[in-house]
């Protein structure tokens, strides 16, 4: 078993699936790429908007955990001022 992989290490959360709670009330689930001056760069992101989603947030998060991330955006930047709280999806 070589354990051979690619990917240079970036920051602690690079490549990890996170939940970002936005100050707007929207919630973003996706892979953290890196945080830059413009915000958090994410990959393969699903977004919960309380004004648009039929499911309550916790139920929606449970669905993402069980069935995987229903990707809406392949790449996006969550502005630093929007990214209020970050946690791991798997916890």
């Amino acid at each position: 078993m070589t354990g051979h992989v690619f990917h240079e290490q970036r920051d602690e959360l690079h490549g990890i699936t996170v939940v970002i709670h936005g100050v707007s009330g929207r919630t973003y689930v996706g892979r953290w790429h890196e945080r830059g001056s413009r915000g958090v760069i994410m990959r393969d992101v699903a977004i919960h908007d309380p004004d648009a989603n039929a499911l309550p947030l916790e139920e929606w998060l449970g669905k993402q955990r069980k069935f995987g991330i229903a990707v809406q955006e392949k790449h996006m930047i969550v502005p630093n001022e929007e990214a209020a709280e970050v946690s791991l999806l798997s916890v």
């Binding site: 078993m1 070589t2 069935f67």
Partner: protein
């Protein structure tokens, strides 16, 4: 864009050495999964070091146990694109991620380990999750 083959060969070989059959075409996948009966594991391989580094060793440890799926398959996400897309078409409402592991019984997914359940965990932890699924569904 796929990586050069010579760079991913060690990752393919990690699984082939375990007795996992690699499926590299749509026809390969259909031959394996269409109308399948019994238990089958599908490991969606990945080059990603954030999660795959522990995924393959985790599977290796899980397969050392006494109970395991009757058939073991793998496709390589990002490399064998069509085969991977076809394999995912058998996963029902489970969303694509890589690496990931699907356990199927009589063609239906009965357990699924997503990438987000592999990230940050050790090979032993993943092996425990897989072993529990094998014990539940493969006896």
């Amino acid at each position: 864009m796929p990586y050069p083959e010579m760079m991913v060969k060690p990752m393919r070989d990690d699984l082939i050495r375990l007795g996992v059959e690699e499926l590299r075409s749509v026809a390969d996948v259909d031959m394996a999964l269409a109308n399948s009966t019994g238990t089958a594991l599908m490991f969606v391989n990945s080059v990603c070091g954030c999660a795959a580094a522990m995924a393959r060793p985790g599977l290796a440890k899980a397969l050392t146990g006494g109970v395991k799926p009757e058939k073991l398959y793998t496709v390589f996400a990002g490399q064998d694109l069509e085969a991977t897309a076809r394999a995912r078409s058998y996963f029902g409402e489970y969303q694509p991620s890589s690496p990931s592991v699907a356990l199927l019984k009589d063609g239906e997914v009965v357990a699924f380990v997503h990438r987000h359940e592999i990230e940050g965990r050790s090979a032993d932890q993943l092996a425990s999750v897989l072993t529990a699924a094998f014990e539940t569904h493969c006896k």
